[in-house]
Structures are given as C-alpha cells and as structure tokens.
C-alpha cells in the first residue's frame, strides 16, 4: 500500500454526540462503528452511510471505551462511573453491570470468544469479568501495575495492558507468566499489529513506540505529533504498512512503519483527536474528537 492509498478524504461526519467523543471503534467486520463520549451515551453508527442507528444510555458518567463482540450481539463499555456495562445490542438493555473497580475504568475489551471482558482502571488494576456466568464478581484482578492502566488488548492467550507507570505488561495465560516491558514513559494507549507480533504503544512524550513482542525490543519510534496530556489512540493500518494516530492539535498523522517518516498529516478535527480506529479490511478510518464529531475517512 502506498501513501496515496491512505484514507485522507473525509467521507462522512457523524454528528450526534454532545461534548467530547472519547472513543470510536469499528466492529469486527468494519460495517458499523461505535462511539462513546462525555455525554454518557454509546452510539451505534453506520459510518459508510453516515447513519446514526442507536443510542445506548445507562452510564452515569462519561463512557470511555466500548467494544463489541465479533458476532455483533453484545457490547461492553466502561467509563467514569466505575462500572463495566454488558449490553445487548439489539434491545439496548444492560444485561449486566460489573462493579468492582475502585475508580474510573479506562478501557475494556472482549476476548476472542466474548466470554470474558477485561477492563483497565485508574485503580491500577486489570479486572476480568465473566460474561458467561451470572456472577458479577471479577474472575481475576491483576494489580501489579504501579499506576493507572490506560489501555488493554487481548489476544487468544494473552492480556496486554499499558499503564502510566511506563510499562506494557503481557500476561500470558498459557504459560502463566507476566512480561513487563518498561518504556520509561507513561503509556497512553497500546495497539496490536494485525499480525500480532508487535505492540504499538503511545507514550506521553509525544512518541509512538513499536515493540517487538517476542523479545521486547524497541523496533521504531514515531514522532511528530503532540501527545502530552490526553489519552490518544493509535493503531496500525489494515496492512500494517503504516501507523496512524491522532494529535492534540487536531491533526492525524500517518507514519511509515519501517522508516518512521511522516507519510501524511492533515488537520482532521477542530480539537484533540481522541480516538482512531482503522477498518479491518479496507482503507477506511474513523476518528473521534473532543469537538463532538466523528469523521469517517476514506481514500
């Protein structure tokens, strides 16, 4: 994929949120996207047609993260009300509320089978919740972090989380081992490459760092954007050829994966770009911003 194939043209603007949009995520097949924000709602969109489909209201505070199962049947969301909500997508009802975090919950993800949701909280812990049973107690609490856990990723066998203490920790369930990669800078957001071999970590020193998962080597650093005080998402493109991420000045950056050169940058939003999510198959991207809009980008 060359740089010209990057999604730099605005295809749609999704308006509806009041106040900052904190996260925008494609679903598994990329046909829909979910967003959540300061207005305590989660919204389901068709980004390709620019249609707002549904609103999910139940959170008492801002919603910070949302994730949908691969079969599009359930949502998991979390936010400032210290709860993790397990939703039914079609009815819009909350199936379960997982309480237990002692503070705001920053991120949440389903595992591969949608049987467990793992949430990362400001209380320096990861908590895994059982979506199969009726128990609302966490299955396991991981509290080895020294500071707020900002982001979590799940693979088939691992839980990976990035924390403000500067570490990216991988908890390998299969081996029973914790690998902690200290980056020395607060980690804002982590994102897995599509081949699962690398972790992209957004650090608060305005640097994205690409780590090799096997050895913990620092493969590359990506600079140019501003990320000093906000939780900004970053991700790899669907082909793993480029890295993309938002900036606090409203710009979106594309870096070459290997050269770490800024391939493209353009002003996408009026304010901080909080979240970027890349289409799993196509060259398409949604970005969310504090300016309360979600924008869909295509080539």
């Amino acid at each position: 994929m060359s740089a010209s194939d990057l999604p730099t043209k605005e295809a749609n603007v999704l308006k509806g949120h009041e106040g900052a949009v904190l996260a925008a995520r494609f679903n598994a097949d990329g046909n829909y996207c979910l967003s959540c924000g300061k207005d305590r709602t989660i919204r389901l969109w068709n980004p390709h047609r620019g249609i707002h489909i549904k609103t999910y209201k139940s959170h008492g505070r801002e919603v910070r993260d949302v994730h949908v199962t691969p079969d599009n049947s359930k949502l998991i969301s979390c936010g400032g009300d210290r709860q993790v909500f397990y939703w039914d997508v079609s009815t819009g009802r909350v199936i379960r509320k997982f309480r237990g975090h002692e503070s705001e919950v920053n991120a949440v993800k389903f595992n591969e089978y949608s049987s467990v949701a793992v949430s990362a909280g400001y209380d320096q812990s990861l908590r895994s919740w059982d979506c199969r049973s009726h128990s609302t107690e966490p299955i396991q609490i991981i509290d080895t972090f020294a500071d707020s856990v900002m982001s979590v990723c799940l693979t088939k066998t691992e839980i990976i989380a990035g924390s403000v203490d500067g570490t990216v920790r991988t908890f390998d369930i299969r081996v029973g081992r914790e690998i902690s990669d200290n980056l020395g800078q607060p980690v804002n957001c982590i994102s897995l490459s599509n081949d699962g071999n690398c972790i992209l970590a957004s650090c608060l020193d305005s640097t994205l760092r690409l780590l090799d998962r096997t050895m913990g080597e620092l493969l590359q650093e990506y600079k140019g954007h501003t990320c000093r005080s906000f939780k900004l998402d970053c991700c790899l493109t669907n082909t793993d050829a480029h890295i993309t991420g938002g900036s606090e000045d409203g710009y979106i950056y594309f870096w070459d994966l290997v050269d770490a050169t800024v391939v493209s940058r353009f002003r996408a939003h009026a304010s901080v770009v909080t979240s970027v999510s890349y289409h799993p198959k196509d060259s398409c991207m949604v970005t969310a911003s504090v300016d309360s809009t979600i924008r869909v980008w295509k080539t």
Binding site: H59, V116, I142, S180, D181, N182, G184, R213, M215, E217
Partner: protein, 905 residues
C-alpha cells in the same frame, strides 16, 4: 369523675340520628341482613362496623377471595396431611385456626399500646373512652361530654405541665405569641428538635404539631371541654392525592437517597454530588414530590433535609423560604495573601542529605590486609554493599558463614578495612546519586571542582591526612576520580579554539560539537545525530568513528590539563588501563560508540515474573491452566530479599530493543562492517557474559554461583598466575580489579568474588568437561540432555551464544524478522522462562525444535550482541576478563561458530 360513680338505670333510648351510620350497619350485620348479599358485594367489617382494612402494606381493602381469607377453591388447608393413612381421623380444630392475627392478638390481650402513664395529653385515653362511650350508651341522653370520660389517671407529663400552669385544652405555647407565623415557627423548632431519627415518622409528628398550632391559630373557640373534638383526625387534613399506598416510603429500599435532593442514577451513594452531576436527571423523577406532603398554605412544612437546613441560615426573612431553584454557587475562598517580604525560595542551611553523611562517623583508615586476594574480595563486597545497602551484607554474611575468607564480615580479619571501604563506597555512591547532570558550563565546572577536600569541607569532616602511612590513600583518590570520569561527563561545550579538531571543515566541526553534546547528554539520541542528512551510510559511520576518536583524545587532553596530582595519576592509569583493555585504537573507539549507544538505550527494559491466571480465566480463554494441579504459591515468597537486593541496583538487564532510529541502525551497521575485521573472539565472550546476565537477573545467589564457579575458578587461576609472573605489576593488577569492581558490571563481579572460594555445601562440578560436551550437543543437536538444571542452564546459555552474523546479512534478517518471529516466540518461551519447574517442560519441547530453529537462534544471538553493544563502558572490563578465560573454550566455540555459520549459509 369516674365511671364507677355513675348509676345506670332504665333502658337507654336509642335515637336514630345520634347513631352513626356505621353503627347501624354493624347492627344490621349482626342481624344477618347482609348475608343474603352475593359474595362479591359483601364487605368484611369489624365489630364496630368499619370496613376491615387489610393491611396498609398489602394492598387495601380487598383481600383474599371476595374478602374472605380463602381462595377460589375454598379454604386452604393449613398443613397438608395425606388422608390415605389416617382417613377417618378428625382434624383437631380450634378457634385459633379461624382467627386473624389481629383477632388472636385481641383475644390474648397481647397488643401493644401506649401506657396511660405517658399519655401526656390524654388523647389515647380519650379515644378509648369515646369508643367505650359509643359502645355503651351513656346514661345521659345526648352526646356524652368527653371530659366525663377522660381518664382518671393523669399522665406524668400532664401532671408536670399542670404544675407548670398548663390546663387541659390549652396549647403549650405561650399565649402571647399568637400570630400565625410564630406559632408555626415554634412548631418547626420543636419539630427540628424531635426529627432526628426517622423522617417519615417525624413528619407525621410534625403534622400533629402543625395541626395543633394551626387550629389554635385559627382562633377557634378553645374550650376546655372539647379538646378532643377539636382534634381533627389527620387523614381528613391530608387528603391523599397520589396513588401510593399508605405508608409508602419512596426511600424504603434506597435509604441513601433520603434527604438527597438530586438524582442518583449511576452515582454512588458515597460519592460527592458535584457540579458536574447537576441537573442531568431533573426531568426524570421528582423526588420531592414523593415525600408525604401536608396541605398547607404558602410555607410548606418540613419536608426534607434541604429545607430544614436552610432554616438554620440566619439571612432569611420571616415568611420567606429559600428558592428551590437557585443558581448554584460555589463558595470561593481567596488565596492567602503572600507577605511582601516573602522570598519564594528556601535556602537550606547545608547541603541536602547532610544528615545521611554525618550520621555515621567515618571509620578510621586502615591499611589493607596483606593478602591481596583478600583485599580485592573485601573491596568488591564493600562496593556492592555500598551500592545495594546493608541487606546485601547480611545476605552474604549468611551465605558465607562457614567460609573463612568472608571472616571480615563477621568482624574477623580485615574487618576494619572492610568498614573503611564500605564507608567510602557509600559516600561515593551517594555523591554519584547526588551529582546533578551539568546543564551549563559553570555548573559543570563547579561539580568538577568538587573533590574530596571540598566535599569534606561541606560535610564538616575532619580532613584526612593526605599522606597517611598507608599506600591506599592515593589509590582511593585515584579510584574515585577515575570512576568520576566514567560517571560524570566532562563538558566539552566550550572548548578552547585549539581543541577543535575539525577546524578546516566548519560543518563537520559543528556536527562534532553536536555529537559531543549528545554524547554526554544521556537519554536517547535523536535520529539525525549520525551526521548530515545527505551523507551516505558509510561516510556517516566513518565520521562517527572520527568523532569518537577525537572525543576520546580531547577527553584525555582535558584531563591532562588538570593540575592536581591525583587526576594526573588517574589519567596515567586510564591510559594504561586503556592499553590493557584494548588492543587497537579502532576497537577502542568502537567500544566507546557501543557504550554510547547503551547509555542512551535504557529502555525498553523487559522483566518477567510469574503470574498465575485464575482457573476460570483459563477456562474462559479455552486454555489449559498452566498451574493446574499445583498448589497456589505462597504470595511473593520467592524473593523479598532477592528482589530487594537485585532490583535495587541490578536494574534488570534490559533486553534492549535493537533499533530506535533507522539512522543509528544504519550507522551501527556500517560501523560494524568497518570494524568487522578487528573483532575477535573476545567480543563473543563478552556477549556470553551479557546473556548470562539476562538469564540471571533474578536468580538466587547460589544458583548464580553454581553456574559461575568454573569461570571464577579459571579467573582466580589466571589472576594468580599473573601475579606470580609480574610481582612488580601487582599494584596495577589490583587497580585493574578495583576499577572493574567500581565501574564494572557488578553482577559479574559478584559472581566472581563470591565464587572465588566455592562454598563447601555446593556439589563439585566439572564444568570444563561439561561445556564442550554441551557445545557439541548444541551444534549437533543429537546428544541427549541430562537432567541437571545447572547443566541445562549452561547449555541454554551456550545455545544463545551465536556466532556473529556477517553484517551484510543483518539487513536481510531484519526484513525477514517478522516471519521468523513466530518461530522465536516458542523458542523464547523455552529459553527464558523464569520458572525453573517450567523450564524442564519447555526446554525439552524446544529441544526437538532446535534443529530447525537455527534462524531464531541467530536472531537471538544477534539481538544479544546488539544488546551488548549498548551496555556501558564497563564492558571493557568484562571483555578483558573474558579474554583471559581458558583458550580451549574459545577454540571450541570458534569451531562451533564456524560450523553454525556454515550450516546457515
């Protein structure tokens, strides 16, 4: 007047108009008229003809099946007993079976009621009396005056009130304050006083007061006679306007919302209700409406907490209430006024951490023990303890209790010398920690002037005699200065003109300055630092090399300019040491380059810990629990001490990511290619050491010793030999060792020093025999592995010792790294699993894979090399050390290397 005093005679005349309608009904019911009604029209009534009320909490007047206690099917049996066995048995029934609970209570007289003694105003008594009067027609025709049937027994409260001048029928209030408002106000006061426990109840009480006051204030004719008749029942005054049942409490299941005015969805009960949460759910549910309210005029009676609070505020005009909707106002406090003469900077009387240093008086300086071996040992341990803290001392004391050479720890031979060395080490370590990085030229000069005298002056120490009897004193100075040159960069930013080595090429000189600045700045090097952007890789690398050389030369020259004796000595020492460390100038520069990299690549660091996933988590992830069947480990038993000792200073040896910037990578690659010819086997040895460190970051000392005992034996031998050979160079060797201890990788020195004498409890090893066999096994991959964990470790480490791949191969491999990573994942599990019990399983698994997994091994070896390049300059020492190892092993490895390379090619 008492009832008993009356005489009843004749038959009372019943006058119809006096009889209440319900009385009539009761009479009618008694006569059985209503029984003719169909069941759904019948009403259950009590003995006074009132509709029986079926529990306020269970739903009103209608209950059961058409007001019966039964169901549609009939009477529900109390308990079911099979009639098969006792068919003809007659069930024992009593009247209690058919009575309601309240009827039973009546029957047994167990109902609770107010004791008349505390019925202050006689209300209960009068009620009872009225009932009584209704039931039993009085002798006197017409309405029975209530006072006639007032209870005879005065309650205590009434008595007291009477003594205070109160009379029946009067309100308790002061008669002079007659206005409507005052009455109410009094009532409120009273209510506030009473209403602390239960809101609802006290509301009703409050109502009572209100009603009382209200009725009084309405200037009703207050008769002493008809106090009770003026007392209107409460429910008449409060028509029920909502649909809730009686006694409905909106907060019954959510007591935390009681008294809270706002909405509470999603906000915890303990959470503060702040500005952010305001007016979000205002339309959702009006809580205030659900509170039982009285019908009153403009001023509402006490309804909730908020209003009650506002009454306490003094600024409210009589007759007004605080607006329920008002602008939210946050109380603001002005910042405290700063005095004009305030100086916003605190001046410390002395330097920071003075107390740390002066707390321990310096132990006397003593000559070192005769045995130089002992001296080295003592100094090594002292350095370690100085860095790691007392804990390490305790640990090694424990470990080496039976070892005579560690007697100095127990206060034996050489203890004084140890104390002294320890103190020195501690001082030095603190100083290093304290010294800030020089930010500008002035400050750096200052810090450079900070020598022992200055420090002593600051600390208020008694200056030590410079030329005390011992030989050690200059050594000590030399020591610290030397290490300072390592630790603390010289400042080159304002070099004199003469020291500009690239004067002819201004651009190059500029780059050189930049290079110097960055070299000693620490942290990560920016990507462009390698040279001008338009330069080719080779040129850039070459220039980098030049810079390194020039920097080295400058450093030396600069140090030579310093006038004091010790610095001169140290410089001499450095040069001699440099000669000792390195054989060629090119290599030296490369080394400095390497260490430069290492200084800037502290991150990322990798650590591994055990982590036990819960069984449910494994199940949900559809994985086999790796800890299945194992007892849960005692929490963090493994290493309070270990982690303290090792983590404090052995910052887990970083598996440094190899590339941060493409430029650096390229430059290093180019450099490597240029320096490839010079590289010899010792470099590989050095890498071995590094890998070993990685492996043993958090291993217990014993294991470490076990692994290294052979090396250190060899080391001991060689050092002894060298001493025998060059007795006149003894001091220099000792200095070298010292230097190694000071600046070197001290995990290594730990291993060596502790392993100098193998403790008797350790099983004897013949590593010299094992190593080649392990290597052979490694290269052929055929030999079966035997079970000893130590051996396995060694083989693993050997396995990691790859040959240096040709540099042209490097970029290739980098590109194909992605694909290989899959292989190496599993391999790395096996090689670096922190758990020894796991090790067996995985290593045996990986054994079979090893034949085909040479690519991943190569990668690992290359990464470890990269890693090693970035380690601090202390590596020089380790190189020196490793090069002095037995040559046979080198040969072996060299062969295996060649073989491996062949296979890869």
């Amino acid at each position: 007047m008492d009832e008993r005093d009356l005489v009843f005679y004749g038959t009372p005349i019943e006058r119809e108009e006096e009889l209440s309608s319900r009385k009539k009904k009761a009479v009618a019911e008694a006569s059985g008229q209503l029984r003719t009604l169909p069941t759904w029209k019948q009403e259950v009534r009590d003995e006074e003809g009132r509709r029986r009320f079926h529990g306020a909490f269970t739903g009103g007047y209608s209950a059961g099946y058409y007001n019966t206690v039964g169901s549609k099917e009939g009477w529900a049996p109390q308990t079911f007993t099979s009639s098969r066995k006792n068919r003809a048995e007659l069930k024992q029934q009593s009247i209690l079976n058919f009575l309601d609970d309240d009827e039973k209570a009546d029957l047994e007289g167990q109902s609770l009621a107010t004791s008349t003694q505390f019925d202050t105003f006689g209300f209960t008594a009068s009620e009872v009396a009225r009932k009584q009067a209704d039931k039993e027609p009085s002798a006197i025709p017409g309405p029975v005056p209530d006072e006639l049937v007032l209870p005879a027994a005065e309650s205590i409260g009434a008595k007291l009130l009477l003594k205070m001048g109160w009379r029946h029928g009067r309100s308790i209030k002061d008669s002079s304050t007659d206005s409507l408002y005052d009455a109410r106000r009094e009532a409120r006061k009273a209510f506030i006083a009473f209403s602390s426990s239960d809101d609802t109840k006290s509301n009703i009480d409050g109502d009572a007061n209100h009603v009382n006051d209200h009725s009084n204030s309405l200037e009703r004719p207050v008769n002493d006679d008809n106090l009770s008749s003026q007392y209107t029942p409460l429910n008449a005054l409060q028509p029920k306007q909502d649909l809730h049942g009686l006694g409905y409490d909106p907060y019954k299941h959510a007591p935390e919302f009681r008294g809270k005015a706002g909405p509470g969805f999603g906000i915890g009960a303990l959470e503060e209700y702040d500005i952010e949460d305001e007016d979000v759910y205002t339309t959702a549910y009006d809580f205030e409406d659900t509170v039982v309210q009285e019908v009153e005029d403009s001023s509402k009676p006490i309804t909730d907490h908020k209003h009650r609070l506002t009454w306490k505020e003094p600024g409210i005009l009589p007759g007004f209430k605080v607006a329920s909707i008002s602008d939210y106002q946050v109380e603001k406090f002005n910042a405290p006024e700063v005095p004009k003469d305030f100086v916003p900077r605190h001046k410390f009387a002395g330097p920071l951490k003075v107390e740390d240093k002066t707390a321990v008086p310096p132990p006397p300086d003593v000559p070192p023990p005769e045995d130089s071996n002992m001296k080295v040992l003592i100094e090594g341990v002292a350095t370690l303890v100085g860095r790691c803290g007392k804990l390490f001392e305790d640990l090694s004391r424990e470990k080496n209790q039976s070892n005579p050479s560690f007697g100095f720890l127990m206060g034996g031979n050489g203890h004084e010398y140890y104390e002294r060395k320890l103190w020195e080490a501690q001082q030095k370590y603190k100083d290093q920690k304290k010294l800030p990085l020089p930010s500008d030229g002035k400050s750096s000069q200052k810090t450079e002037k900070m020598n022992a005298e200055n420090r002593g002056k600051i600390l208020g120490e008694r200056p030590l005699e410079r030329s005390s009897s011992s030989l050690v004193s200059p050594d000590v100075n030399l020591q610290s200065n030397l290490s300072d040159t390592f630790m603390k960069p010289l400042q080159f930013s304002e070099l004199p003109e003469v020291s500009k080595p690239f004067k002819d090429n201004s651009a190059k000189q500029e780059r050189f300055q930049q290079f110097l600045k960055e070299k000693y700045k620490g942290g990560l090097r920016s990507g462009e630092s390698g040279g001008a952007s338009n330069m080719s890789e080779a040129v850039r690398a070459q220039e980098r090399l030049d810079f390194e050389l020039a920097a080295e030369a400058l450093e030396k020259a600069n140090r030579g300019q310093q006038s004091n004796l010790s610095a001169q000595q140290s410089m001499d020492f450095l040069t001699s040491a440099g000669m000792q460390f390195t054989s060629a100038g090119v290599e030296q520069s490369k080394d400095t380059l390497d260490k430069d990299f290492e200084m800037k690549k502290m991150y990322p660091k990798r650590e591994e810990n055990q982590w036990r996933p819960s069984p449910v988590l494994c199940k949900r992830f559809d994985l086999v629990d790796p800890y299945m069947g194992k007892l849960p480990p005692p929490p963090r038993m493994r290493g309070k001490i270990d982690s303290l000792v090792f983590k404090a200073e052995f910052i887990p040896v970083p598996r440094i990511g190899d590339k941060t910037g493409q430029n650096q990578n390229r430059s290093s690659g180019g450099l490597q290619s240029s320096a490839q010819g010079v590289r010899d086997g010792s470099a590989d040895e050095e890498e071995d050491e590094v890998v070993v460190d990685v492996e043993n970051v958090e291993r217990p000392v014993d294991l470490y010793k076990a692994i290294f005992s052979d090396d250190s034996d060899e080391e001991a031998e060689t050092s002894k030999v060298s001493k025998v050979e060059d007795p006149e160079k003894k001091v220099e060797v000792a200095n070298a060792t010292l230097n190694r201890l000071m600046a070197g990788d001290f995990l290594e020195s730990l291993g060596k020093e502790l392993g100098l004498e193998v403790p008797p409890d350790l099983p004897p090893y013949s590593h010299t025999n094992q190593n080649p066999s392990a290597l052979e096994k490694e290269t052929t991959g055929l030999n079966p592995r035997d079970g000893s964990s130590v051996k396995m470790k060694i083989t693993e480490e050997d396995r990691k010792q790859g040959s240096p791949p040709p540099s042209e191969d490097r970029m290739d491999r980098r590109h194909s790294k992605r694909q290989r990573r899959y292989d190496s994942i599993s391999d790395s599990y096996s090689s670096s699993s922190g758990d020894d019990s796991d090790r067996d399983r995985y290593s045996s698994k990986s054994k079979g894979r090893r034949k085909k997994g040479s690519s991943s091994r190569d990668k690992k070896s290359s990464s470890s090399r990269k890693h090693s390049r970035r380690r601090h300059h202390r590596e020089d020492v380790s190189r020196e050390y490793s090069s002095s190892r037995s040559s046979r092993r080198d040969k072996d490895r060299g062969e295996s290397k060649r073989e491996k390379r062949k296979r890869r090619d």
